[in-house]
Symmetry: C5
Subunit: 354 residues, 5 copies
């Protein structure tokens, strides 16, 4: 299947804003985790999926609702409607092939990006779409499958670590984005280590599997690049955004996030260059090896072919072949062979082929 593009055909001809799930179903059940916190209070609940979602956003403090599993459009739609989201947002949440972006709506900001995870076993970057809705007093997150990416953020809320409990929804959104970008960097780092480990193999032993690895890493780096560049783009946009939803006190954190994402993009570019260099060097190594092989062949051929020819001469059965009858012919013959071999060897040594 085309990796760089999610199936789009299913949606051909649909009106924009149609709430249809497009993607691969990755979990069997939609799960909702909810956290309400203020500097002093904290309330956690796992919302019952059968009961109607009747709760409204809190008047003070922050409510974070984390939805896992998007295959049930009706369910997702009902949650979205409660928070009064635009149909285009709902569509984007459900179509899991979105390009990372930020969109500004009247009462909320919508972020969609990829969460990455480097599967070291299969040497492949796994990705999953994450939608974050930042409202004045609430944050919604939509993930395709469960995972512990946001566990540290939850822990910080529970343990009152850092400033998270004392800050608004924008800080929570920042903390979530920060976690995602941190994961980018961690994925790049793991991949990068493997890439740098290739270096020795390439020069000393340019075997075919090295080529396959280079190709593999190239593909993953391309994938990372395609994912992280638009992410950086919208974080840049976010850092310049003039919107009340992002409070002034959060600005330095957004700038920090921008630095981090810029760094991730730059390192990806660096590894891209490194892999291109590797391929060049691999090729040169292959050529060098061919040279070695040909040198051996040429030396053997050029020494023995003339000798064999001379032996052939004296293997002819001409009736009148005077040299055959002299007493020391055979020894002179050997002498000539050795002299020719010596000349050839000197010739090759002078050419630096030995």
């Amino acid at each position: 299947m085309a990796r760089f593009l999610k199936k789009k055909e299913a949606s051909l001809g649909l009106p924009p804003g149609a709430a249809v799930f497009i993607g691969e179903q990755k979990v069997s059940e939609t799960r909702i985790k909810s956290m309400r916190y203020s500097p002093t209070e904290l309330e956690e609940s796992e919302v019952d999926l059968t009961a109607p979602a009747s709760t409204t956003p809190p008047e003070e403090g922050v409510e974070w609702t984390d939805i896992t599993g998007l295959h049930d459009p009706e369910r997702v739609k009902s949650i979205c409607t409660r928070f009064n989201l635009h149909p285009l947002t709902i569509e984007d949440i459900l179509h899991t092939g979105q390009r990372p972006k930020m969109e500004e709506f009247d009462h909320y900001l919508y972020f969609v990006l990829k969460m990455l995870h480097y599967d070291q076993e299969n040497k492949v970057i796994r990705s999953e779409q994450l939608s974050i809705i930042l409202g004045d007093s609430f944050v919604l997150t939509f993930q395709e499958q469960p995972g512990d990416t946001f566990a540290p953020v939850r822990e910080r809320i529970r343990k009152k670590r850092g400033r998270i409990r004392n800050s608004g929804s924008d800080y929570l959104a920042y903390a979530l984005l920060d976690t995602v970008v941190d994961n980018y960097i961690a994925s790049i780092e793991r991949l990068g280590e493997e890439i740098e480990d290739l270096e020795n193999e390439i020069i000393t032993d340019p075997e075919r599997e090295v080529l396959e690895k280079i190709n593999l890493y190239k593909r993953e780096i391309n994938y990372l690049r395609k994912t992280s560049r638009p992410a950086r783009e919208f974080i840049l946009q976010l850092s310049r955004l003039d919107n009340d939803l992002v409070r002034d006190s959060s600005r330095p954190f957004v700038k920090d996030l921008l630095d981090l994402s810029t760094q991730s993009v730059e390192i990806i570019e660096t590894y891209r260059d490194v892999l291109s260099d590797y391929l060049d060097i691999y090729n040169t190594g292959v050529n060098n090896r061919l040279n070695d092989i040909m040198r051996v062949l040429t030396i053997f051929s050029a020494i023995f072919i003339p000798l064999t020819f001379i032996a052939g001469i004296y293997g002819t059965n001409f009736e009148y072949l005077p040299e055959l009858h002299y007493r020391y012919s055979y020894f002179i013959f050997w002498g000539v062979l050795l002299v020719i071999a010596a000349i050839m060897l000197r010739f090759f040594r002078k050419r630096n082929w030995l």
Copy 2:
């Protein structure tokens, strides 16, 4: 014929705005389909081509006139004149080699772009020029040949799906553009799948037809790129346009369209890079194969050439050649041959050639 450029010579020396058809005639007949709709009413008609086109744009609601077949300049010109289009617009509609662009005129916007269709059989992208005229209460579309690209939009109008019946002409134009860009993505997707399928073949079996395929896809990707980049450009322009013809309520949809077209452009770039990488890897594969071949040749030559030489020595007819007469000469001779062969084999094993 030059694929990247439509015949222009025919128009050399013509005054600008001359209503002359330049292109390939693709249908035998010009057909006109017309739809008039408002939130409550819908009227569809297939205009009689022999009768004079006397109807005027509606006072309320939206009129969409879809013209298929451009080879009859007089007919096209008379339609255009009814809607009071600028001569340059008429020229652009008729010359089917236009670069995708948007142009702002007093009472309408003019979009020209390519509709793409990936012909999987022949592995070639087919394209057709589409002109869209967006007026206050009307939309005109000019296609080169009939097709069902816009059928879903018609269906949405008929079935009142989504917001199309309740929105103005700008939303209709958006819906049409959206359909076209969706088709881009679908074409890229189909091509992309084939490209990604190549990957295995390249590494395991770098045959000549793989090279031909790479070349083929490169050409199609170049073509896609040439077509979709200016499309993205004018959608960007459109998203920034300050013109009453584009209502505020349509803005989020235009932004969505921009995202989609940006994504299409990025994926095309990604596939371009992927194909370049493929060619590099193919080349390296070819070199590796040459190495294999040469290694076999060298091993055979380097082992047997010296042996043949030694056999040649004892095939000489020297009268006095002492070794020939010893009893065990022949067996010693074999022994020497085997020792030499063993030494050579070890030498190659040490060099990792076996």
Copy 3:
């Protein structure tokens, strides 16, 4: 001679604005054709070169003076002086190695660009410098040699085709620029067809002349690129120019011209990429061919070298060589040879070399 640069040395040390002709004399005589027209009147004359140029620009209507042949600086200077041109403009008209550009002066705009003509015989782009002076009621054009490039424009003036007779000098200048850019596109088209024709040859039969052609086209494309990019640049500048000399009614035409020149630049880039791809594929083809050659060599060598060795063994003259004396030795010998050959063939078939 350096093609990408006209001889500049001749002007080293000259004060700027010096009226010295720098270039190759291409015609023997300077010729002047003059047209004065208004919506109702038209007057054509071929000015006598010996008489003093005493006429002044017309009070109404447009005067177009077309000068062919620049080798006589005094003559050119006297014409320029009549129209009160800046010394730098005169210098630029006479130095035929100018970079295409537009310059704004108090009472006129100065355009300098290249007229291109693809000489299909010699597969080379010929170019000639064209200077256009756009004044309020006059247009001056300076060409290096006579040609029929502007004949269609003259014809339109004479036949009152299009809007040319009813428009001002700016429309005439636009019409001339349009003709030049149309010629670019036509040149690119002719070259492009030849380039695309190469494609088949490259894959099926990568002969040396294909390489020479690729090289040739690369050079011409480079030349086209160098010429057409600055042309596009100044048309862009022109489209944004805020100057009374360009009337509002001409704006859409200038935008159209900009589209055309953008398209020409893009197609040139596309062909550049295509040629690079061709070279890559040609190289790969050459490598593939080398592989084929080596495979044949290796198969022959690897089969016959061992066989020859075995024959050599039994050609030795050892006194005691038991196999020679058995009755069926010769047939067993043949059997062994055939078995070895069969083994080798299987080995090569397994490696997919046959």
Copy 4:
């Protein structure tokens, strides 16, 4: 270990602003050197690490505190707290994998960049993170390990050389940055000399170690590039900064610094190109060499293989082989061999292979 990225995983899940040291501990002890100076006074002290840091920034003059060794977060934090630094700044100081950047805070500017040192022995660029805090009357510098990079600045303060004693904290910060960028240039210079020295080796003797060197230098140049480009970026930002902390009298110096850093970036790009050219030329050299080898092989084979064949003919034991019995057969045989050899040699000479 991934060189282009410092271990980030350790910080995954930490709240932003957490004061945790991330990096490699390079010294055993944190050392603090302090200098207070005004045009007339100078006071130097090595602060006792066990005593509480009770001193406050001076009311007049400049205080420069230089901290070496970052592995003790508590210590660093207490210093930072004294100067009232933002938690994010403290985090950035302690995490030694920062991208070079400038950050503006209420009462200070924060610069983080890399100090580079080219270790000529191991042909590797060593780097160390440097944080500079520029306050109104104080400058803080945080280094990972001790070194004499800043010794000349200290000396200038002590000896009252240049304008440093008469200028404010901004000039000191400039002087420190200038020293760092000077060190960049010096590192590039040393590396550059080695790179340019490679040139001769590449053409005359393309041995394998040349390839390894090219690869090595490529990696170091990539590293330099990754480090110096963001440095240039923030110096550009600094040169445009509108902030009272940078006095007008310092502006020309910042511009000078910008020139220097731009130059460093450009030279790195130049060397990158040079190394790519080297690799191309090395490859071509390897190919040329292969050609030489093959030419020798081909000449030997093509001359002796036919000769050996002819000798083989007359080595056959056919009973009736007339030539064997003529008296001059052997001499005619030699004559034929020599004629064939001569023909082959002429053929090769005509092909320019000899």
Copy 5:
């Protein structure tokens, strides 16, 4: 020595603005030539180096002081001090490794750039730093060594050619810059002719010295590029400069200069591309040649190796080898050999190898 970078280490640790000469001493003596002119008057003098420089800038007219030889910092400093130059300017004049740039100071503009001279003998671009100080009524120029670059300007002043005597100091500075850029173009032109001359050699006869030449020209083009791009940059800056020192009447000349320098940069880029193409084509040529060589080898081997084998068969000494005893065996043997050779030749002809 590193060519792309002048020794910087000598200045490590020096305070900025330190008047120390960094570079290679190129002349033995500092020489000063002075010209004072107004429309009516002209005074030339060669200032005595032992006398104190007591003259002050003139009240009307222009004074141009041309200093040759920079190795005596005290002398240079005293001149600079007389004109009240900023210490950083003095430093830049003395450090001969400056990046071309323009700097604006209170009462003067400072330009530093390279004068280039193509040494056709050694095929190397020689460069020399030129500093130009443009004050209200004076111009200072600092060159590293004497030369006749500015002789034409002096001549124009003396002979009152062009507008130089009637214009201010800004026109003089323009005239000097124009001379320098003209020299760039001339250098590029000379180099360019040699580069274009290479083209034939590459295709017809890809010898090793062609590779060396390509490499050589690449290096020089890189050097030209590094020098002329920042020059263009600051001329662009100059053309946009809003400063009384540049009078309005000089603006068109500066624009002209900008065109010239843009052209020089573009041509350099074109030649860079041309050289890259050359290398590609050279490589392809080398590969083609290898193919030719291998084809010859393969044809010879594939024809004669089987024949030799057959001859070997009948050279064996088997006692019972029936063919040896038939009367026409030898002739049948020859017949078989010829048939095999004919088959092989046909095989190769069919493969297009002959």
